[in-house]
């Protein structure tokens, strides 16, 4: 009797379940695109500023101030791009 009872199955309706799944998938895709866009934009701006500072510094090696800002902005840009990559990896793993 137990085995017979456990073997009973009913067919569950799929429409609402599939609709909810598709909505979750679409939301996840939008969230990922938004995060990528924001961090990519920030990283690109920082990298451009850093590169511009580096190029303007090159002819005159006696100015030390631009070196600090160039280094800071370039490191900040590279760090942001690294964080972006890390975020992508963690998102995939989750």
């Amino acid at each position: 009797m137990l085995e017979q009872l456990l073997s009973y199955h009913q067919t569950l309706a799929d429409h609402e379940f599939v609709k909810r799944f598709q909505q979750r998938l679409a939301l996840q895709s939008k969230r990922r695109t938004l995060v990528l866009t924001i961090f990519g934009f920030i990283g690109t701006i920082c990298a451009v500023v850093g590169l511009q500072g580096f190029v303007s510094w090159m002819p005159s090696i006696h100015y030390l101030e631009p070196v600090d800002s160039v280094i800071v902005w370039t490191v900040f840009g590279l760090t942001t791009m690294s964080l972006l990559s890390l975020g992508l990896v963690l998102d995939e793993q989750s």
């Binding site: 009797m1 137990l2 085995e3 009872l5 456990l6 073997s7 009973y8 199955h9 009913q10 067919t11 569950l12 799929d14 379940f17 599939v18 909810r20 799944f21 598709q22 979750r24 998938l25 996840q28 995939e92």
Partner: protein
């Protein structure tokens, strides 16, 4: 279209193919989860949703070793274990099932009844007896999904059957 074709199309970027996979497998997966969550339909559906999302993300890793259904159950089982670890699911609870309801032959009522009976069992017992008696899987197939040793699986199934049969007989006598 069979699972292999749908999986290949999903991997190449066809989202409608994966939606069809969900349609094909959602009923069986949700029923499996309803049994191991002892009738918590909301929790079962949440875990099923998470499992399909995970399957979508990891589809390229599915190498076709075993069936897609078995792989889904493996994902769902591990997701369920996370829920158990948080304490969100209680198990080994008293079961409020009467003898009269045990004699039902309606598939829907019997399914719901089977879900309620699972509340009496521990998580490994629910899992193994559901995969064996409800899903019809062999002990080896259950071992592939759960990672449990064969001897342990047999022991859990035997213990679960003994507990449920004892309960049914006690209800019959009462």
């Amino acid at each position: 279209m069979n699972d292999e074709h749908l999986i290949a199309r999903s991997i190449s970027g066809d989202d409608s193919a994966f939606s069809q996979l969900v349609r094909n497998h959602q009923s069986a997966l949700r029923q499996f989860l309803r049994r191991i969550t002892a009738g918590d339909h909301a929790l079962a559906d949440d875990i099923a949703q998470d499992s399909f999302i995970l399957a979508f993300q990891k589809l390229a890793q599915f190498r076709g070793q075993g069936s897609f259904a078995a792989w889904l159950r493996k994902l769902a089982y591990h997701r369920f274990l996370r829920v158990v670890e948080t304490g969100a699911q209680k198990y080994e609870q008293p079961c409020d099932v009467s003898w009269q309801s045990l004699e039902t032959r309606d598939a829907v009522e019997a399914d719901i009844l089977a879900e309620k009976l699972m509340a009496m069992l521990s998580v490994p017992e629910r899992l193994t007896i559901t995969l064996n008696c409800s899903e019809g899987l062999s002990h080896t197939e259950i071992a592939e999904i759960t990672g449990l040793p064969l001897g342990t699986i047999k022991s859990h199934i035997a213990k679960a059957k003994r507990r449920l049969n004892d309960f049914i007989q006690a209800e019959a006598v009462a």
